[in-house]
Amino acid sequence: MVDWDRLLTLAGRAGATQAEVYHERTVQTQVRVFRGRIESVRTIDSEGFGLRVLVGHRVGYAYGSPVHGADLEAMAHSAVAAARVAAPDPSFGLAEAGWHYREPGDRGAARIPLERKVELALEAERSTRAVSSRIVGTDDVEYLDFDREIHIRNTHGVDVAAAHSQYRMFVTAVAEERGESQSGLGVAYGPGGSPGDPGPVGEEAARRALALLGARPRPTTEVPVVFDPLVGAGLIRLLNRTVSAESVQRGRSRWADRLSERVASPLVTLVDDGTLEGGPVRAPFDGEGTPARRTVLVSDGLLQGFLYTAEAARRVGAQPTGNSHRHNFREAPEYAVTNFYLKPGAYSADEIISVTAEGLYVQEVQGLHMANKVSGHFSLGVTGRWIRAGALAEPVRNMTVAGNLLDLLFRVDMVGRDLRFFPDNTLSRSCAGGPTFRVSSLVVSGK
């Protein structure tokens, strides 16, 4: 049992002028299978606290897992000691809009028996292999679910609690033909108490792997490029710092001073929505207790605003947008996007391909995490299918696509309606999503 008042009192006694306690409990199960057998079952029941204190205008942070009295006192002293190392800044502080919120949640994941979770993972593997005899194996077939409870309380009257339950399934299918292998990924997620049919996840992984068999590089050229949702989501994610008010304030965003100006083609609308029904990130409040909300960053290509943590908001007298998050209790809250996506448009993926005379359809990329988020420059290894006369043609590999993401946004000339999100197996508080979209031209390098 968390003794809130005690921890907040101890913080005060240790020298804090303001304090915030973040308490998190996550019960998680992860089942991995391989070749029809269980490879591993991992269960975690993890509980921890983060204590953030202000000593005047200095912030310090300490974390720990429960639970003896001595530990709480040590945490309080540790947090205050950390604050004394930090420099003061009048913008530092805690969420101030005192409000109470309770969302009990249903512990859905705990209600599903382990045997059922194992069966779902095994079924996903079976369904991927059933698609074709050229699917020779799998990698990373996983069923994972969690029940997570978060409670935040601070000395300004914030007292919020919510629970969230989710399952996720992952399948990597391995296809082989004529001595050459390719892989493909399938991802699914949903409420923890009602896992979906594993068939489609497995089938998707198989289809993606099969589509790439026989891939070869092509000569270097400049063509329209169509990004599938998995890749598109990865590119959108690279914009997370550009839309951060904190980055703007530190001179690290190229969209600084460009409110109301055109930063992308009229087909681009970029949204961050912590309240999105069906989004993988679900929390009614952020990591400081600020209510979650939907913020439109770019509307029909025109810059509308930025995302603010409480601190960035305080600096300029703006409203926080609920974008201060922690991935777990060991971290102090920091800027993060929530469900961050390109708003879907009018076309199906097939329609976009059918009007492309010649181009590249990108199904997989490597090197996203090394793009330069300040300048927008990216250079990626790509695998996918060539597009010829409006149809998907031969698979290609060992090619690169390079350019500048912020310039690329001006050349988005078709946006699909197939918006999807792709959470991974770490329980991150951010997830990007994308529909299929086309860029009118990029340099594609190969032979």
């Binding site: 269960t43 029941d45 310090g60 420099a87 690290r252 490597q366 300040v374 290894g381 690169t400």
Partner: protein, 466 residues
């Protein structure tokens, strides 16, 4: 510290687990203390510390593994986790028995006293110095952010295959982000040195002067960088961080879990030539210099060792943990690592490098008519099934007529591992190691990467200029 964590206590837990009639039982206890400082605009903006203890109980029967995690070192909770894991395992289908190869002699030294937590003040002072040096290099350096991370991990491991050991592991890293501005041109770059060392030792191995100068230099160089060329080119990969190439192209697919699932592009190739004859690749937990992969024992209690993986171009060994060593009937190589007690171990690298050859690095450049010199590699990625990999050059130059000429913008190189390894045609004599963070299946471990300067006859360069 906690009554469980003495050898007799751990052994009791393992014996109790054994009594549940499983093929293998292991208790991994960990206490980790952290210090984090973020310096921005020369001010300490954030200081954070914390400590956490927990235990992972791992058991298996046949090929099924059950893993229960408890974030407490309380003996009662651990015993109950052991019982729970046993009962979890009983619900899994019967499998044939598994016998694990031995980890080595038990180390029954008493548990070390847990040292004091890393000091926020010391970390902040080191960062302030780095910041001062970085800004002092040039007025064109307009922004500096320096983050320091220090961790102290104390582990105790006992298992039914005779392991009984403990260890204290230090790690410190600085992440230096620099923005340089000249007129309307603004460029950013970063440098992230790390060592398996405490804060004091880290700053003696990486003087603030060195960190600051290098970080500033990497950003300033980009101010003059022209767009990178594109298409197939010869690539001279510099020493140190250039080792990211071998990490991705060669060693990830040699990790035993991919091999045992038949999902590695190098499966079934022990004894075969997979690289050119001048290439010898080593994974060495004892490499000098305290690079982040330096470990005395791995996270299953198996002694860290010097493993030759590729010898003169021939594949001679995979990297294994206990489970994959058993599945592959391969010796244990001491590579069973885990991010924390909350994670299952899997085969991971320690310090991985290409052994030095004969060439003088300047001669390698002189012998190259046209190509790219990759001086600093930011990172990479590999698909172990296909062998296709990339790495990103964050400081690079053109080579024209055997001379290093203009700097080029950050660019990514693409290749297929099996092809690229055979395209290494010159191996230099200037071996150097560097640090890197390796992410695999959602788990981060810190490693060393290294090599001498090498030349690859052809890779595809992902620039923008044709």
């Amino acid at each position: 510290m906690r009554s469980l964590v003495d050898p007799a206590g751990l052994q009791r837990v393992v014996d109790m687990a054994r009594g549940l009639k499983v093929d293998f039982a292991e208790v991994y206890a960990e206490y980790e203390q952290r210090a984090n400082v973020l310096l921005d605009n020369s001010q300490v903006e954030r200081a954070a510390g914390g400590a956490e203890g927990g235990v992972g109980v791992r058991m298996f029967r046949g090929s099924a593994v059950a893993y229960t995690i408890v974030n407490s070192l309380d003996p009662e909770r651990i015993m109950s986790a052991v019982r729970e894991t046993g009962s979890l395992l009983r619900r899994m289908p019967e499998e044939s028995t598994v016998v694990l190869p031995a980890a080595g002699p038990a180390d029954t030294a008493g548990p070390p006293a847990v040292p004091g937590a890393p000091s926020l003040g010391e970390l902040a002072a080191g960062l302030q110095e780095v910041d001062r040096v970085t800004r002092g290099v040039s007025p064109l350096v307009t922004q500096v952010t320096a983050e320091g991370q220090a961790r102290l991990r104390t582990i105790w491991i006992a298992s039914s295959d005779g392991v009984l050991t403990s260890d204290v592991q230090h790690y410190t890293r600085v992440i230096l982000n620099v923005v340089a501005t000249s007129g309307s041109r603004r460029e950013a770059n970063y440098y992230t040195p790390g060592r398996a060392a405490n804060i004091t030792r880290f700053f003696s191995l990486h003087q603030p002067e060195e960190i600051g100068r290098k970080g500033a230099h990497m950003a300033l160089t980009l101010l003059d960088a022209r767009p990178a060329p594109t298409g197939p080119m010869t690539v001279v990969v510099g020493n140190g961080r250039g080792g990211a190439l071998i990490h991705e192209a060669c060693v990830h697919p040699l990790e035993g879990d991919f091999v045992s699932r038949d999902n590695s592009v190098y499966r079934g190739l022990l004894g075969a030539a997979i690289a050119s004859p001048g290439v010898t690749v080593v994974d060495d937990a004892g490499a000098p210099g305290s690079y982040p992969g330096t470990i005395r024992v791995d996270d299953e209690g198996c002694g860290g060792r010097h493993n030759v993986l590729v010898e003169n171009g021939r594949l001679v060994s995979y990297l294994t943990d206990a489970v994959t060593a058993s599945r592959l009937r391969h010796r244990r190589t001491g590579n069973g690592r885990r991010q924390s007690y909350r994670h299952l171990p899997m085969p991971r690298m320690t310090n991985t490098y290409i052994a030095p050859g004969k060439w003088d690095p300047e001669e390698i450049v002189r012998n190259t008519e046209r190509g790219i010199l990759a001086t600093h590699v930011a990172g990479g990625e590999v698909n172990q099934v296909t062998g296709e990999f990339v790495f990103t050059v964050s400081e690079g130059y053109l080579i024209e007529n055997g001379r290093v000429t203009a700097p080029i913008q950050r660019t990514t190189l693409v290749g297929s591992g099996p092809e690229v390894l055979k395209q290494i045609d010159m191996v230099g004599n200037d071996l150097h190691l560097a640090s890197a963070s390796c992410v695999k299946n959602g788990q981060v471990v810190e490693v060393g990467v290294g090599q001498p300067t090498i030349r690859v006859r052809e890779m595809v360069v992902g620039g923008t200029v044709r």
